[in-house]
């Protein structure tokens, strides 16, 4: 699975393909080193984060001038700072059911958009467009939500379907362009992001999207009949996110469509030779990826925040790329990474409130984790983990035999 991330469209020729020795790490437990690597990345990030906390804590900094005379002062101050920050982070994200529920709600759109990026990854496509797909999703879902008057339940379903379709359309455009003209999806999805933001701003300036008596670019609130119901203070979008993960897993691992997507993602030439319609697979993958991002957008507007504003998507669409990367483009991994990022962002706010540590530390932790995941060799070196497989075998192929 790791390979999918490192270079999505793998079409290695005979000359550059690593041929691992017969008894390499490939086996039923290939995920284990991945898991260990990811956990190691998280631990290293926390350690570096602790260092930052300590060095930005005024009490700890005060002890620095006499560090060598009274090192104990420094260490106890540093420990206090780190302990209070990290415990606030944990308390704030999972300390009570209320916090857990907030974390789940924050994670749900991250998971959905992350699944979209992961799925596209597996089909060999680098989907940078979750942000735009989300925007189109919540624009459509929100519009349906505050414009029409439908019975509860049905209203939610219609708005949900609209949001998903909107995202699917937006993703599908990039897929179609790739399939038809070969236009690179990285470029087209970035451009479509700009376009989506512009459409959003334009729409919010129009009467149909304007809140009455307000000059702000903010839509009317979504009708109660359209919002997600909630169970135990947690809106049902969270369940949708988990259901989507199961659906994506089934699609990728158990269906013919997923078989095609993974085949095309790993080797488009062989897939074409085996009779697959590569253009169709690209388009379909982007449609599904867009639908998932659209679902994420829908959650934003039908979940807790009930009206459309230009900042509704935040940076979720871009965080989704990181979530997918951290989750190694697998559904389960994406769910776990989404939960972690959700917890960090919810906990970060609490940390700032109760321990005075800037909430940006949470963002720094996220960045460090991803950095170390992206540099597995560095993590291995830092943790003295034994290298699995032989990196040096890469060049052993293509000569003599």
């Amino acid at each position: 699975m790791t390979e999918t991330i490192a270079h999505p469209p793998e079409s290695a020729g005979p000359g550059n393909k690593p041929v691992p020795p017969a008894e390499s790490s490939r086996g039923p437990v290939t995920w284990l080193p991945t898991l260990v690597e990811t956990l190691a990345a998280i631990v290293i990030a926390l350690v570096l984060g602790a260092l930052l906390v300590a060095l930005s804590d005024p009490d700890t900094v005060e002890t620095l001038p006499y560090l060598f005379s009274y090192p104990a002062d420094f260490f106890s101050a540093a420990f206090d700072a780190v302990w209070s920050s990290y415990s606030a982070l944990v308390q704030g994200s999972v300390g009570s059911w209320n916090r857990i529920s907030t974390t789940l709600e924050r994670s749900a759109p991250l998971i959905c958009a992350g699944l979209g990026v992961s799925l596209a990854f597996r089909a060999g496509l680098f989907n940078i467009g979750a942000q735009g797909q989300m925007a189109v999703g919540f624009l459509v879902a929100g519009f349906i939500g505050f414009t029409y008057d439908l019975p509860p339940g049905l209203h939610t379903l219609v708005a949900l379907a609209g949001g998903i379709l909107g995202g699917a359309l937006w993703g599908g455009i990039a897929g179609f362009l790739k399939a038809r003209t070969g236009a690179h999806e990285v470029i087209t999805t970035i451009m479509l992001n700009y376009l989506a933001v512009s459409i959003l701003l334009y729409a919010l300036g129009k009467e149909a999207f304007q809140r009455e008596g307000s000059d702000n670019r903010q839509s009317p609130p979504v009708a109660d009949s359209a919002t997600f119901g909630s169970v135990a203070d947690t809106h049902l979008g969270v369940l949708l996110a988990f259901a989507a993960a199961v659906g994506v897993w089934w699609l990728l691992e158990r269906s013919t469509i997923g078989f095609e997507m993974r085949a095309v993602g790993a080797n488009p030439e062989a897939s074409r030779t085996a009779g697959m319609n590569v253009a169709k697979v690209f388009t379909l993958a982007m449609v599904v990826a867009g639908a998932l991002a659209g679902l994420a957008g829908t959650m934003q507007v039908l979940g807790d925040q009930a009206s459309i504003s230009p900042t509704l998507a935040g940076t979720i669409g871009f965080d989704a790329i990181t979530v997918a990367l951290l989750g190694r483009a697998t559904p389960l991994g994406t769910v776990l990474a989404g939960l972690l990022f959700g917890a960090l962002s919810v906990g970060g706010v609490a940390m700032q409130a109760s321990a005075g540590t800037p909430k940006e530390l949470a963002a720094v932790l996220q960045a460090l984790i991803v950095l170390f995941v992206a540099a597995p060799a560095l993590v291995r070196g830092l943790t003295r983990q034994r290298a699995t497989g032989g990196g040096s075998t890469v060049m052993a192929k293509g000569w003599g035999g």
């Binding site: 690593p18 078989f259 085996a274 009779g275 052993a396 293509g398």
Partner: protein, 505 residues
């Protein structure tokens, strides 16, 4: 220069790629290195050329131990290497390529091209390698490009020249010329390490032959050893080099190709007005030097390239505008030329690759869902039937050896009823044992009444399998001949010498 290798060992983790190899290359000898794929020849040469560092053991040059940490160390010690895939810059001239990396300048950074050209001229007269120093490399035939590679190594004063499968890309005539060059180099005192798996060449030009199997030296023998002996040493058991086959029971025309023309993406006519018939129960061999339109021809037959003109009829129905899926569904089996590029998905397991073009059939799917159990059962029986050496059905195909990868492709294509089988280079880079097996299966398929088309640049393979041979040169079929024809005559046709040799068997 005398090159000695003593107890050279290379381990990758628990895997021993080279196990205490001893080898001595005497000055001025042609030393052949023979071995199956994955036997460890590559690893050994990588160590000799400074690309890999040995785990244990020594390399001695004229009795002095040396350590190579990069190819430039090896080059400084007088070792040169001609890679299988040429390392030339196509848009540079011969002289520019030869001086590349050690450019001489005349002050102010101006390249001294004249001196480079003089070096090329001087070396080419000394070793009898005629090359025009000012020709652009991209305009040269493959055989001449190879000479440029050799010249490049010689210009670095190589005393020991490693030739890595140098004959794979050459016509029979070019192979003869290369052998002449090798003999000339030897006369001038250059030693050559000649890597190949073609037994005929080893016997023709070698002074001594070292056979490697599973990372160990099996033995060093003289070229007087018979081909059967050499093959047995390589594989570790007796191998039949001739394919047993009954005379073909030729049936009706199954696939008929009329006036087929294919234009490649660069606008160049790759296949020019080609017509032929493939008949049930018969093997039609398409011989030719690589790059003479065979690739485009079969891709057009498979619906992977749209032909520009002409008709491809399967049982009388025109399929020339169909796509690959229709061609496969219509009963054409396809073993692509470049298996790792087109034949399988390396990251996929053996189980998945065995259904790469069958997953949609009722056997392996219901609605949108895959039948995983059926796929696993299929994998187990194919692995058994085709003797695919793998840890299990879930092993990724890229972890298998070349021969076993090819067996996966062949097993997949043979696992459904076929009307036509198109196999391109079915045994390229495949070890002797697997060649024997794959050839047997192809003949078996023929005997079932399938029309078989084999495209191969290996004349041995063409002769071993074909009931009729079509020779392609420059996009045309220059003749269809019986396999009784002499190798020299086919060689001439492959080189484009006789356009009119139409011999109907």
């Amino acid at each position: 220069m005398r090159l000695e290798i003593k107890g050279l060992t290379k381990r990758f983790g628990a895997f021993t790629a080279n196990d205490s190899i001893d080898l001595t290359i005497e000055p001025g000898e042609i030393h052949c290195l023979l071995g199956e794929n994955g036997a460890g020849k590559s690893t050994l040469m990588n160590m000799l050329y400074g690309l890999l560092e040995p785990t244990e053991g020594q390399i001695l040059v004229d009795g002095e131990p040396v350590t190579f940490t990069s190819p430039s160390d090896a080059i400084d010690s007088g070792i040169g290497m001609v890679h299988q895939h040429f390392m030339l810059v196509p848009v540079f001239t011969v002289a520019e390529n030869v001086m590349l990396g050690r450019e001489r300048t005349r002050g102010l950074g101006v390249l001294n091209r004249k001196q480079a050209a003089d070096t090329v001229r001087e070396l080419s007269t000394r070793y009898g390698l005629s090359v025009d120093p000012h020709a652009l490399v991209e305009d040269l035939p493959v055989g001449v490009q190879q000479r440029v590679e050799i010249l490049k190594a010689l210009s670095h004063d190589a005393k020991v020249l490693i030739l890595d499968e140098p004959t794979a890309v050459l016509t029979p005539q070019e192979i003869d010329e290369l052998m002449e060059i090798m003999r000339e180099l030897k006369r001038r005192g250059t030693s050559i390490i000649f890597i190949t798996h073609k037994l005929r060449e080893v016997k023709a030009v070698g002074d001594s032959i070292t056979v490697i199997r599973r990372g160990k030296v099996v033995g060093t023998v003289s070229p007087q050893a018979s081909e059967a002996e050499l093959a047995e040493m390589m594989v570790g058991r007796a191998v039949r080099l001739v394919v047993d086959k009954e005379p073909a029971q030729v049936g009706a025309d199954v696939l008929s190709v009329k006036n087929l023309t294919v234009v490649d993406p660069r606008g160049h006519q790759a296949v020019k007005d080609v017509s032929f018939e493939a008949r049930g129960g018969e093997v039609l061999g398409i011989a030719g030097v690589q790059g003479n339109g065979q690739t485009e021809l079969i891709k057009a037959l498979m619906g992977l390239i749209r032909p520009d003109a002409g008709v491809v009829a399967l049982d009388g129905e025109d399929i020339s505008r169909h796509g690959a899926r229709e061609a496969l569904d219509a009963g054409i089996g396809y073993v692509p030329e470049d298996r790792s590029h087109d034949g399988f998905v390396g990251a996929f397991s053996v189980r998945e690759n065995l259904v790469l073009d069958l997953y949609r059939s009722d056997d392996f799917s219901r609605g949108l869902g895959l039948k995983l159990d059926a796929m696993a059962d299929n994998a187990r029986s194919r692995i058994e039937e085709f003797d695919i050496r793998t840890e299990g059905p879930e092993t990724p195909v890229r972890a298998l050896s070349g021969g076993n990868q090819q067996k996966v492709v062949v097993a997949r294509e043979f696992s459904r009823p076929l009307k036509v089988l198109i196999a391109a280079q079915p045994t390229r880079g495949v070890d002797v044992g697997s060649i024997e097996f794959i050839h047997k299966r192809i003949i078996h398929e023929r005997d079932q009444g399938t029309a078989v088309i084999i495209v191969s640049t290996e004349l041995d393979e063409i002769y071993a399998l074909s009931d009729r041979i079509a020779v392609m040169y420059d996009g045309r079929i220059v003749g269809v001949v019986s396999p009784d024809i002499a190798r020299e005559d086919i060689g001439l046709m492959m080189a484009g010498a006789s356009d009119e040799a139409e011999v109907n068997p």
